[in-house]
Symmetry: C2
Subunit: 578 residues, 2 copies
């Protein structure tokens, strides 16, 4: 990872690729890289879909190496959904392949000329850019099938579906998984629209003739990586819960805790939650011949992903995440698990964020567009998004815009981005994260669900307001650092509880890069990233008034605990006091 690939889509005669040395960006990976590039090169006041914005794709520091569970890739830009800086990250093979090809970042920049679509082909032998109008308005599954026909099975395909091509606020950038399916997405914040605004429909990353990245200190790395992997395997969440059941293991737990936001965040429990549970899913999939334990990238030892098939054994979709089952299930009053799996496929196909889509459907249902629990209606609405009908243009613009178009106050959003699968009134730590993160409502930015609900990384009453700010602060700092390494966020369960696993992670990085980082250095890295992101957002016009939940969360009690959002503004404003 000693070079940067820049693609200027506004060059004379069509998009041009140039390869640069790392320069001032040396030593950065993942979120640290995307944030630094955006902060240095993108004017905060620009329009996210205008020529001044840039799209940055950066593998984590450990991507492409033998480090366990380290294949995550970051996508950064100014977000079309939130107007803030954005880092959205994904699994799949793209980060690993880019890293093996030596690219610490791909920066797509400049002003699109004309309406042609392009594809970028990145190989060990060099980079080429070609017109790709044959891919116009193709969704991800047929597009990727076509690309497999043209480029074989070796590459990762980084693509935008129809949503990104139509520059929708809800639009992902898709990274194909080890089987070459378009199942992994940089989902949040509308990053697909930025790629669409640059006229780039697909990036083909071919790792042929590349090797796994070698550590500087091989002995140290190997030993540490072994300890680290063991640590993941021995923690109950990363070693048992996630491999066996996937992230949807949470749905029963959140329902029990009264924090599962059913019916557009109006009730913390969903009567038919059993029908949506992972236990149910795994039982059915095992019978049908699906695979509930699968890695979204090679080298993952957690393997929280899975493959879902229908009763005839035909592929339906990847195993849906908890967020997806909640958003399209409980949040919409839908209890049909196969329908949720099909909607997961549709989201992947059109290139939509399953959190944003499901939250938008909940708002549409509250607005009376379709009825609660209407499976067919919900599927039709997702198709409308993918096709860009007028209704699809509303919904595809996201939850906040949908509420705006229908004159509804009940938009569960912060900074324009939909809240995920934990009601902030019942899981107050994650509510602090929603309110204050630089990214718009986002659970992954500081997953206080761990201490609030799972007793991981400490234990804290989820209903108590006091003390949640400090928890969210520490987690936001740690996460910003983790998002820079390429390690999956899910390693946090193990490193929060097992100091030796945390140390093994640091030693792995030190072994890879020949460094002597300490835990304090990791914390400082996280703080620096957050400071830079906050500065960008401040210059873009964000203030503490934006670090708030919508007022109705303070006004409306949330069953079954009938709690209101009562974390003080002072506490929220203290999150970035470091």
């Amino acid at each position: 990872m000693d070079k940067i690939l820049r693609i200027n889509v506004g060059a004379e005669g069509g998009p041009k690729a140039t390869v640069e040395s790392l320069g001032e960006y040396a030593g950065l990976g993942g979120r640290a890289m995307t944030t630094r590039v955006v902060v240095r090169e993108v004017p905060p006041a620009c329009h996210p879909l205008g020529p001044e914005n840039k799209l940055v794709i950066a593998p984590g520091l450990m991507a492409g190496s033998a480090a366990a569970t380290s294949g995550r890739v970051s996508v950064g830009c100014k977000s079309p959904l939130t107007g803030t800086i954005k880092e959205s990250n994904s699994g799949g093979t793209g980060g690993q392949y880019l890293a093996r090809l030596g690219y610490a970042a791909v920066i797509i920049e400049g002003e699109r000329k004309g309406d042609d679509l392009y594809k970028v082909i990145i190989k060990a032998s060099g980079v080429t850019i070609e017109k790709a109008n044959d891919l116009r308005m193709l969704s991800n599954y047929p597009m990727v099938e076509k690309l497999h026909g043209q480029y074989g099975d070796a590459p990762c395909f980084i693509t935008i579906g129809t949503a990104g091509e139509m520059r929708m606020g809800n639009s992902t950038i898709c990274f194909t998984d080890p089987e070459g399916r378009p199942t992994r997405h940089a989902g949040r914040g509308g990053v697909g629209a930025v790629m669409g605004s640059k006229g780039i429909k697909a990036i083909i990353v071919d790792p042929t003739d590349t090797k796994i990245r070698q550590p500087k200190n091989s002995e140290q790395f190997k030993a540490a990586n072994k300890l680290f992997a063991q640590g993941l395997q021995q923690h109950p969440v990363t070693g048992q819960g996630l491999p066996t059941y996937g992230s949807n293991v949470l749905i029963n737990i959140l329902n029990e805790a009264g924090g599962l936001p059913a019916y557009n965040f109006s009730n913390g429990r969903f009567a038919d939650v059993d029908k949506l549970s992972s236990e149910t899913l795994v039982e059915i999939q095992k019978k049908r011949g699906g695979n509930p334990t699968h890695g979204c990238h090679r080298g993952c030892v957690i393997k929280c992903s899975g493959i879902c098939v229908d009763k005839d054994g035909n592929f339906l979709s990847k195993q849906p995440e908890y967020e997806t089952v909640w958003s399209h299930g409980a949040n919409c009053g839908i209890d049909d698990l196969d329908a949720v799996i099909k909607m997961d496929y549709m989201n992947d196909d059109y290139g939509l964020d399953t959190i944003e889509t499901g939250a938008t459907l909940g708002v549409a249902m509250e607005a009376g567009v379709i009825k609660w629990g209407d499976v067919e209606g919900a599927m039709n609405l997702i198709h409308e998004i993918g096709k860009g009908t007028p209704m699809g243009r509303i919904l595809g613009a996201g939850t906040a815009t949908t509420a705006r178009c229908y004159g509804l106050e009940h938009a569960p959003v912060v900074k324009g981005q939909a809240m995920p699968a934990y009601d902030p009134r019942a899981v107050k730590g994650v509510g602090v994260t929603y309110a204050t993160t630089t990214q718009g409502a986002d659970h992954t930015a500081g997953y206080a669900v761990a201490p609030n609900i799972l007793s991981v990384g400490g234990k804290k009453d989820p209903l108590e307001a006091a003390g949640q700010a400090a928890i969210s602060r520490d987690l936001q700092i740690a996460t910003a650092a983790l998002d820079s390494t390429g390690y999956c966020l899910f390693v946090a369960f193990a490193i929060l509880d097992q100091p030796e696993t945390f140390q093994a992670m640091i030693d792995s990085i030190n072994g890879m890069y020949g460094l002597n980082m300490t835990a304090e250095d990791v914390v400082e890295l996280g703080k620096n990233i957050l400071r830079e992101e906050r500065e960008f957002n401040k210059a873009a016009g964000f203030t503490k008034a934006h670090d708030r939940l919508p007022m109705y969360f303070r006004r409306e009690a949330f069953p079954p605990h009938n709690t209101k959002w009562d974390v003080s503004d002072e506490d929220l404003d203290s999150v970035f006091d470091f």
Copy 2:
């Protein structure tokens, strides 16, 4: 004007009216009143359509008196379109009648319970509130016709069309004119949606058994008012241009100046401007038997309004304002004046702001929804708004939301509100006003077009960036004060050029209230209003980053002068240095 009418729509058993003394609000009128009430009573962080927002309707200080051209009424709230504080003002008879009934303000507040619609009947004998579900989804013309049947011709009807009822970001509150037609609107900022969110469909203001308001110092008032009226009549703009041609007298002037924003703000001239000119309109209307010189309220000596009829003499609409002819004409590539008049009627009927609607249509045309110049397509789109189809929900949410739904950068908006009929690159003084006013893009907030283009109130090169901030500052201060008096903004042409007319206006107010105000006091009043509005906006999350035009105005040169927006950020940030 010694009392306030409060309507709590959330009261047990249905909306309840209470009458209060003025208390802390004594001495305030128009914008000074609406701003003070909103600042004191509405939490800046609230959702504009939530129960914490309030709608304030306040006649100007001189409303209901014999003062010339003083019948304007202010509507205030937190704006659903901009998220800022909002004062939107209107002609019609409502302000005068409320003033004669003694109400300095009507405040509609509380949380709507259920879906019933209500009407408020305000008479000299008292206030009653009744269910009005028979008015559901009626547009203004048929609704007002129905209300005339029920309440006769004496009252002013203050109503929301279907747009306000559907809580659209583009939605007006309509005030009937002296003939009882729904032609005058508090147009900007989506104030109709706030009335809709409270479930109030109509306010019937019956002045029967009331008298014209008497001045405290009758001699002083009469003499000053006479001088003031004479001043209006002798100034070429208020005495000749506006009465003869209406505000659309500007279209040729702006076209000549290269500042008429044609085709969604992409060209400063429109080839077929002659077909849209007031000269053409007046000639046609005189032949047909229309009336081009008509007052929007009784007692107006400018009479810039008019009545337009078809070739058989049937009423078409009021004479469209310059803003309407520009927005639905040049901005959409439409050169059919009768079509513009019909679209003016449709806007009045559904309760839409003609500026926002036309600007939205321009964006829709650039997005390819319909073609430039497509009259039938444009009319169909307005009907879609009025009916609330999915396409209508997009467009009805306003220009910024429409651009967002279609992934377009070219949204000519500031703080979510569409720019009016003067391109800021060619009329830089008004560009400063667009960027910095507390209201979102708004020409009336500081009409620097006067010195930039009309040589009124001084003379300043419209293309020169330097010095425009000071011009906008002074005009914004003066306007805030003027908006509090009930005097029409158009009196500014005369008072800016004729010191004796300005003094006559001050003397009229002094005579009315028994005061000894000076010109300095008027300036201080204006400054205070702006300070309060800025404080509200700051608490709502607005910063100097929001006091900017969209970046493309700096990047893209505007023909025919090929000028870019080049007023410095420092100049913009200096506007409120007072």
